[in-house]
Symmetry: C2
């Protein structure tokens, strides 16, 4: 058996997220169907992490085991001939048997996009959160700094999430402005369910002046989901890069 | 009767173009339906120009006549409450009775986007033409210059187009590079059917080295559609601005 990995970019608009489900179309299902056809054997894949319905990816990493002989260098092109245009594979490579797209991940980088123009844009509606009012970006930048380091992120984990270790290390947490689009870049060891979207929702409240930036420290310490802000909508979130 | 105008941005992906058709969903139909509901009388609108299926707009201009009393300043917001999210109105204003979105237009600015990365992008597939190979942008820029001025554009008009005056003035014809996206900006008194897409298809052939830039002069002089290049796909084209 060989172990192969590749990277996927996808527009999440038309999918019920990454993870295979019984009655909904997911990216994992289409990728497994394509690989099963390509390898002429049933293929199960592992993704670096789940993405929710409507969430996008520039750099989802996928691994799988196969006994087929397809050259790693040809894998991405062969896959792209079978996948729809909103899912694109690249960088196929053979990896050691112990490689696992999820368990071997060292850190993940996400991006969240906010479209700030007073009017909604037909071109951003599926690719950013439209926040039309004034935002104090300096306050949001200060708030973002409170997330860096090692924290218990229970307050930013969706209620009803499974019991996982809520301690996470955040290496990068910054807002960058590019024209009408404000981007939040966050990199860490891993993220709890809805964690990035809850962090963004809370920082947008701070940008609107509802709380001062240092409230982040208090919310983290409280471990209470009810103290954090709304969950920012899915379509602004992008899984950008996974590092192994 | 009052005459009103407003500006529309739309993502053309889900529509069979601007102009109302019997058995296909068009932007004009949705706008007329929304205005008819708003004004409580049957409204017929005039657009500055037709856009084909899949073509986008940042600044389509629309005019209509009505006896209803809706304040011009409230028109766009009221329309947006009735339109789908991929069509957005702005800048409603009352204009003199002689204003006509099509006949009063002095010039139109179009943009055509090419995505140049070797791999297709799921995020550009509906918003640009994917041209993965090498392109000699300097040659394309030289070619673009040949279009400026007053010319007979018969060679760049789709075969079977109606008999209209093929003479057009082009004020601006430039390529601008922004990362992986190459944009063609062209402004003129008006454009024949498929004219911008045929100009772009021909310039891409020049960028690929199939012809030297000065071939544009010969193609214009020939008035033969068969000498020009392919029609670039619809999804890269944007109606950006109409000037009155």
């Amino acid at each position: 058996m060989r172990t192969l990995r590749f990277t996927l970019a996808y527009d999440g608009t038309n999918y019920s997220g990454w993870q295979r489900q019984a009655n909904a179309l997911t990216v994992q299902e289409l990728v497994e169907n394509a690989l099963t056809k390509l390898c002429k054997e049933t293929i199960k894949v592992v993704g670096s992490g789940r993405t929710d319905a409507g969430v996008h990816a520039h750099g989802q990493v996928v691994s799988f085991r196969t006994s087929c002989a397809i050259p790693a260098a040809r894998l991405a092109a062969a896959l792209n001939s079978l996948l729809p245009e909103d899912i694109v594979a690249r960088e196929g490579q053979e990896v050691p048997a112990e490689f696992h797209a999820r368990y071997s991940a060292q850190k993940k980088l996400y991006c969240y996009k906010i479209y700030r123009h007073p009017l909604a844009s037909p071109f951003w509606r599926l690719y950013a959160w439209h926040v039309p009012g004034e935002l104090d970006v300096a306050a949001m930048r200060q708030a973002a700094e409170y997330f860096t380091g090692t924290h218990d992120f229970s307050a930013f984990c969706a209620a009803g999430g499974t019991k996982v270790n809520p301690i996470r290390d955040i290496y990068l947490s910054v807002w960058r402005q590019s024209g009408d689009v404000l981007e939040y870049h966050v990199e860490g060891t891993g993220f709890l369910y809805h964690m990035v979207r809850n962090m963004v929702g809370t920082m947008v409240d701070i940008g609107k002046g509802k709380h001062p930036p240092h409230v982040i420290a208090a919310i983290l310490a409280s471990k209470q989901r009810s103290l954090a802000g709304v969950t920012a909508p899915a379509q602004g979130l992008y899984l950008d890069r996974v590092t192994y």
